[in-house]
């Protein structure tokens, strides 16, 4: 089934890009710890992200225990609850998802997929990781600071974020949070510049932008977006830091606290919301676009079919990336802004549905009449499509001003964004790990444990978040430490809340099986060989598995075709690798 033909260059282009002068480590420390090799840096990023992600997972259990069985865990006071909610959100969005997709997958896959020996500036790349680690440590330090971490909510809205009534507001919590975010942004910028320049300027011969796997298009676009969106958060952090430390009033209006006039006056809390969401909305797509790209590759490989509408898919990624910079105020419909703004932002928000739906259709059409192998990466990819569709559909509700206003700050919103940017990208992360683990380690992950992990995670995620939509629709607000029996909630929802909690605990424990699988398979997994899935993209064609220092042997590969030549009629195998000149005989220059 080939519905697009890609012309195959027969002449080999001259080498324009100079060979990267590799840094050759001389000691154990520079090989494994202060490594400049993108593959090691990727593993360091991923390990750190998973470690801090586990903390966030435990925090989510605590949230659910409090909501499902109020008062069961006695150390969850209202203050502690806010702190737990805040840290759970911030860690998951920034320190886990962003770091894992860009720092983890980006570092590992970019040089391999473009046929480079490493990132263009390995030293800066190494610094990127260490600054990220420092950011994580500062974040963790806030748990042990006097007063604990900040409880301002992950959006850190002023004025409450830096006032005494909010946990950590007048103590170290908020300061450490802001410092950690600034460090994260500095570290990310160092890595991000590397990713972008490597893709733009460091490709191998024959690798055009339109022959790159969609994974790279997703990571590339997301990185460019991050480089343009994080500055807004950086500026917001600097200004809030000054408000808190120096007593400036960027975000602080005149306030009376506990009957006492504060020294602040004349600032605009809305300004913070604009800055935050100018970062915050692109951030959603910074997480989603790599997931889109990866899932396209998983589907194509495991359905043994080229991706449907490759060019459309690329342009959809780029257009989504661009549009996501003009929709931010749809997070602020209830902030009292001019209704005409609401109209504008609702329109742009709904326009994003077009390229997004296009991608979903193309995934389905790739599957259509494909040779679908329901292996673990494919299962997760299918689960992603369904979940993303579900999450996207509730986005249509929330994108419309009139529907959003009553739903604002209810559990419906919580269910929506967990479906669309929590569960969906994480399913892709799992699928991607099952897919690329053989390349990283040379061994397969255990299939039985993997299937258990998949089904519990997939079904469990729906058991958690489907009821949560309902809970939100009947009026349960988010961020309430204990619901009680308020009159505005039309139906008692305590039973559902308890059910969600049990499901959340089960899903959480299934992740421990996954972690065990990763460690166990390092030694006991079935040896995979270099290309267990029969994938065509360049990273599976390395001479060694796992790829050695410098990725490629003596010579860089030469790319003759796109990454999606599966089931080509007449070809000797059911895939043609990107560096395979078929039907021409292999030609080597010099």
């Amino acid at each position: 089934m080939v519905d697009a033909t890609q012309e195959i260059d027969t002449d080999i282009p001259p080498a324009e890009v100079p060979e990267l002068e590799l840094y050759h480590p001389k000691s154990w420390w520079t090989t494994y710890v202060f490594s400049q090799d993108a593959k090691i840096i990727a593993l360091q990023y991923s390990g750190t992200a998973f470690a801090i992600g586990l903390v966030a997972l435990v925090l989510s259990w605590l949230i659910r225990l409090q909501l499902g069985f109020p008062g069961l865990v006695d150390f969850i006071t209202p203050e502690a609850y806010y702190q737990i909610v805040t840290m759970h959100g911030m860690i998951m969005v920034v320190y886990l998802l962003t770091a894992l997709f860009l720092g983890g997958f980006g570092n590992y896959l970019i040089p391999l997929m473009v046929g480079a020996r490493d990132m263009v500036f390995p030293y800066v790349n190494m610094l990127s990781y260490w600054i990220y680690l420092l950011a994580v440590l500062v974040l963790v330090a806030s748990f042990f600071a006097p007063g604990g971490p900040t409880g301002a909510g992950w959006t850190l809205y002023p004025p409450q974020a830096i006032l005494g009534g909010t946990p950590g507001g007048q103590q170290a919590g908020i300061l450490l949070m802001l410092a950690s975010l600034m460090l994260f942004i500095i570290g990310f910028t160092m890595g991000g510049l590397n990713y972008v320049v490597t893709i733009l300027q460091g490709r191998t011969r024959g690798m055009t932008l339109m022959r790159m796997p969609l994974t790279l298009w997703g990571i590339f676009t997301a990185t460019v977006m991050a480089l343009l969106a994080f500055p807004a958060l950086f500026v917001a952090c600097v200004m809030m830091m000054f408000d808190r430390v120096l007593g400036t009033s960027f975000f602080m209006p005149a306030l009376v606290e506990m009957g006492e006039q504060l020294k602040y006056g004349g600032g605009s809390p809305i300004l913070f919301q604009h800055l935050f969401w100018f970062f915050g909305h692109p951030e959603v797509y910074i997480v989603a676009l790599p997931a889109f790209g990866i899932v396209s590759d998983l589907i194509s490989v495991h359905a043994r079919k080229n991706i449907f509408g490759y060019r459309m898919m690329v342009w959809a990624i780029v257009i989504i990336g661009a549009l996501s910079f003009v929709v931010w105020a749809h997070h602020m419909y209830v902030s009292g802004m001019d209704p005409r703004f609401g109209f504008f932002f609702a329109t742009t928000t709904l326009v994003i549905a077009v390229p997004t739906a296009l991608k979903v259709y193309n995934w389905i059409l790739t599957l259509w009449r494909g040779d679908i192998h329901l292996r673990l990466p494919m299962l997760f990819a299918l689960a992603f499509i369904v979940t993303f569709l579900n999450g996207g559909l509730t986005g249509l509700f929330l994108g419309n001003v009139v529907v959003d206003v009553p739903l604002s700050d209810t559990m419906f919103v919580v269910a929506h964004f967990h479906m669309v940017m929590g569960v969906a990208p994480i399913l892709v992360i799992f699928g991607a790990i099952y897919h690329w683990y053989p390349k990283i380690t040379g061994r397969m992950l255990d299939e039985k444990m993997g299937r258990f992990h998949f089904w519990v995670t997939f079904v469990g995620a729906y058991a958690i978040f489907f009821p949560m939509h309902y809970v939100g629709l009947v009026g349960v607000p988010r961020r309430y430490v204990e619901l009680g029996d308020p009159a505005f909630v039309t139906t008692p929802v305590h039973g559902l809340n308890a059910f969600i909690t049990v499901a959340a605990l089960v899903v959480g424990f299934a992740q421990l099986v996954f972690l065990f699988n990763i460690v166990w398979s390092l030694r006991h997994g079935r040896p995979s060989g270099g290309n267990p899935w029969g994938a065509a993209s360049l990273e599976w064609q390395t001479p060694e598995t796992p790829p050695g220092h410098g990725n490629w042997g003596r010579e860089l590969p030469i790319v003759y075709r796109w990454a999606y030549d599966y089931s080509v009629p007449g070809a000797p195998r059911d895939f043609i690798a990107q560096d395979d000149p078929w039907p021409q005989p292999p030609a080597r220059p010099s």
Binding site: A15, E16, Y23, L200, P231, A232, V235, G266
Partner: protein, 237 residues
């Protein structure tokens, strides 16, 4: 690492079609652009967003405040020769910084002529002008602080005046300071002949080239350009 392509780039059509041809070609999208230069440009694009956010935040604060904004012509006036001259210090600072862009451009030119001493001399002159700028900024800050301007208050009007002033000029001054430090580092490398002998960097263990001077120059011109915007929006508005 030599950044000049070893093989001539294949001929390409002029104009837009050339750009399309470059972007649809293999290996690199910007032909003839080295990695470090590409990286600096993209970093500057990111940094542009930082300064844009600062300036937009400042404009929001200034246009939404209910208390009148202090008059910059009076605040930034200097009492010289028995009369108040508005913006005189800022004018001199701007002149100094823009002159430093001139010396920087000359340094890049001499760098490509591989004139070691002249390049280093011009870079040091640039650094000296940059340091002068930071020094005058310190003088300006001192004067305003003496007059009672604080980040949280000032004698003349909206307190956001002091807050935005110190934050934006401080952030820009930090950029200039880092620029001066790196100018000195690269000038030393030039003078020592690192770019002629291919001596490896201490941290990166990479060989530099005279192109480093140009990349440094990009940053420096950017910092100057940002100052022009700060000058226009903060002092002239």
């Amino acid at each position: 690492m030599t950044d000049v392509p070893s093989v001539p780039v294949r001929s390409r059509p002029p104009g837009w079609r050339g750009i399309v041809a470059d972007w649809s070609s293999d290996q690199r999208a910007f032909k003839q652009v080295s990695w470090k230069k590409a990286m600096m440009w993209i970093f500057l694009l990111s940094d542009t967003f930082v300064f844009s956010c600062f300036l937009v935040a400042y404009m929001t604060a200034r246009s939404s405040t209910t208390i009148p904004w202090p008059n910059p012509s009076e605040v930034f006036a200097l009492h010289l020769f028995g009369q108040d001259i508005p913006l005189i210090l800022i004018a001199i600072m701007t002149f100094v910084l823009i002159s430093s862009s001139g010396t920087m451009a000359l340094a890049v030119n001499y760098g490509y002529r591989r004139d070691r001493r002249m390049t280093a001399r011009l870079m040091l002159a640039t650094a000296a002008l940059g340091a002068t700028f930071v020094g005058m900024q310190a003088f300006e800050w001192t004067k305003l602080i003496r007059e009672g301007v604080r980040p949280w208050s000032n004698p003349w009007g909206a307190e956001q005046f002091g807050a935005t002033f110190f934050m934006i000029t401080g952030f820009h001054g930090t950029h200039v300071t880092f620029g001066v430090i790196f100018l000195l580092i690269i000038a030393r490398k030039v003078l020592r002949g690192d770019f002629d002998t291919g001596r490896r960097g201490y941290f990166t263990s990479r060989r530099g080239g005279y192109e480093n001077v140009e990349v440094m120059g990009l940053y420096w011109h950017f910092v100057d350009l940002v100052w022009v915007f700060i000058f226009a929006f903060f002092y002239l508005w």
